[in-house]
Amino acid sequence: MNFLLSDDQLALLTSIEDLLRDRCDSLRVHKIFDVEGEAQYDSELWAALADMGLPAIFVPEEQGGLGLGMVDLAIVAELLGAYAAPVPWLGHALAIVAIALGGSDAQKAKWLPRLAAGEILATVAFGEGKGAWLPGEWQLSAAGGLIGTKLLVPNAAEADLIVVGVAEGLALVEKGAAYSTQRIDSGDRTRPVDTVVFDGAEIELLTDGLAVRDRLIDAAAVLIAADAFGGAERCVTMSVDYARVREQYGQPVAGFQGLRYQLVEMALATEPARGLYWYAAHAWDALPEKAAHAAAQAKAHLTDTYLQVTRDTVEAHGGIGFTWEHDTHIYMKRAMLDWAWLGSPGRHRLRAADLAGW
């Protein structure tokens, strides 16, 4: 049995983590987060990550990419989650998965090399409101110009290309087509989201879009779960570290059993969940019959856990934890978006139950 990261994967992790430690510390995240007005992303950090080949991970080698898989994407998602990195990675990575799986040779050749290099930015548009996130629930239609609204689209305003989920499959919409974006204040300013209103936008369908859209949704679920794990684990560490140094009654608060047990419950909810998101990523790569169920379980369990852990983290930090100036709320707001984006844990549990054949 070899349920481990490979040496290459460990090396990838180390180099990204070195970069994030340098370029994405708390101060830097706050700098992006605290700017009044519309949330943006950290373009310098994004460029540095692109230089390291982050967008190229899932791009096939023929299109100038690294030709790696979902486990590799997921461990990146975990790290970006741990550092609350304000970069437009999620939508971009998923758009690449969509095109790599569902595009014709011409579509791949046209888009993937530029996406891999980070020259242009892409994203994905799934949600239509009232919990409608999944392919069977998409109402928008490609017939005769795209009309309608997609919600919570990551970085739509900055994107050059949007992969839109439609009744017919997956549609490519280029910047300049007939659509408008409206940034909404989602709380999570590390990952801005927009409402996108399509007003007869010209589209091109991905050739195999209908066949791969469920797999794309599973990929999204896995990456959200991985982000949630990274964030939750970071919150546990942050709380443990704080409890060791914060003194009250003449001793570190880590000595008080009530708080110790809260910290233990946080760790107990988080640490064993790593295996679940690893499994979901591995299943996506290698165990096709298990992949959808595992993805649904991972999305439900990890995002539920993350949100609760961030609440506990604020509490463990006392008053400082409830301030804008501390990092706690940045993670909590990421956790809120992870919880809601792609559908709530409850919905994914019912989906998992259906997939289990109960």
Partner: protein
């Protein structure tokens, strides 16, 4: 990343399967017969499948440590419901003797223990020394070539079926708490020992009180050094690998729960179709998958000598909480039958109670929390505790 074991291990698995296929179920079909079980265990040990960590001369099969093979054997035996050669009484005593025992102690006790001729009880807890085990007071005095033991143990599982006890006793009354304790082996079928059953809340009689009234054991029944019994038990406990057994146990309980949720009707439909039940079942499954794959992760890390971090301190508490959650959902599914101790759902009513014993036996859940806090998360020691836990 690979969840299987690879080609070499696949071949090994086939070998194990073939072996089991030839030897189990037994020819006469009687799965429960002690003779059949014994014959199977002997054959499987000779073949190198059971008691792998134990040298041949003590009755084991003396194989090189291989977590992968051990896991495959365990899986295949479980699948076939074949005897896994569990050592009667508490299995901790054999690894303890292997590590700390004299050659004479190993010769005298290990092989008969594996055969089931000697059955052990674990004499640690006392009425006033449970979580704070090091405050125990049962004392042993060396008089000539014998230890004379006086005092009381409690909650001793299977003492009524046991022939011997491995026991923590105070031998140095003047030494500090942890330093005055020794580890003794005692024959408990002697006039100085009284075993009195205690009835558990499930009505079963599994644990006991054990009284020592000038009971005796030879001087050479001391394991490890005099006054160092605390170290002896601590280093034995670290051999315990609770992850895999937690996982198997929880998985089979969950499968049972799903089966029951399909059978039981609520409002004219199977309970499993009720969205509230469905969602909770899926939530439990998510936790179970977390435990399962993190256990695989831990096993893989072990096999490759990599450290897995805080997870290793967590399986017992995680499983205890999971078992509680499973029992509560079972309660919600069986509804009115929950009060019928004579009915078809007795097994689940018992499990509802037994899940609580898991939160007490082998270190209470709060003691597990202390362990996770200190060894898992590196928090400073709780000041109210000594060097215990």
């Amino acid at each position: 990343m690979e969840l299987g074991f690879g080609a070499e291990y696949d071949a090994f698995r086939q070998e194990v399967r073939d072996f089991i296929g030839q030897h189990w179920p037994p020819a006469d079909g009687n799965l429960k017969s002690r003779e059949n079980e014994r014959a199977f265990v002997i054959a499987a040990t000779e073949r190198g499948y059971l008691h792998r960590a134990i040298p041949k001369r003590f009755g084991g099969s003396e194989q090189a440590a291989d977590i992968g093979k051990a896991e495959i054997i365990r899986e295949e035996l479980t699948k076939a419901r074949a005897p896994a050669g569990r050592i009667p009484g508490n299995g901790l005593v054999v690894p303890t003797l292997l590590e700390w025992g004299t050659e004479d102690q190993k010769d005298r006790f290990i092989a008969p223990t594996l055969r089931g001729d000697i059955v052990w009880a674990q004499g640690f807890s006392e009425p006033n020394a449970g979580s704070d085990l090091a405050s125990l007071r049962t004392k042993a005095e060396l008089v000539g070539d014998k230890w004379i033991i006086n005092g009381q143990k409690i909650w001793t599982t299977h003492a009524h079926k046991a022939t011997h006890m491995f026991c923590l006793v105070r031998t140095e009354p003047d030494a500090p708490k942890h330093a005055g304790i020794s580890y003794l082996l005692i024959d408990i079928r002697q006039p100085g020992v009284t075993v009195r059953p205690l009835v558990q809340m499930t009505r079963q009689k599994e644990f006991n009180e054990v009284f020592f009234d000038n009971a005796e054991t030879p001087a050479d029944m001391l394991v490890g050094e005099r006054g160092r019994g605390w170290n002896v038990t601590r280093s034995t406990l670290k051999h315990e690998r609770s992850g895999i057994s937690s996982m198997t146990w929880s998985l089979s309980m969950f499968r049972d729960l799903v089966k029951m949720a399909k059978e039981v009707e609520r409002d004219g439909a199977p309970a499993i179709k009720d969205p509230r039940i469905r969602e909770e079942l899926a939530a439990i499954e998510g936790q179970l998958m977390s435990l399962t794959y993190s256990t695989y992760r831990a096993t893989s890390h072990d096999m490759h000598d990599r450290d897995i971090g805080p997870f290793q301190t967590m399986p017992k508490l995680y499983m205890t909480e999971l078992a509680g959650r499973i029992s509560r959902l079972a309660r919600d599914i069986i509804e009115d039958d929950f009060t019928d101790m004579g009915g078809a759902r007795l097994k689940w009513i018992e499990r509802f109670m037994i899940s609580l014993s898991m939160s007490i036996a082998g270190g209470t859940s709060n003691i597990q929390r202390n362990i996770i806090a200190e060894r898992g998360l590196g928090l400073p020691r709780d000041r109210s505790q000594g060097a215990g836990a």
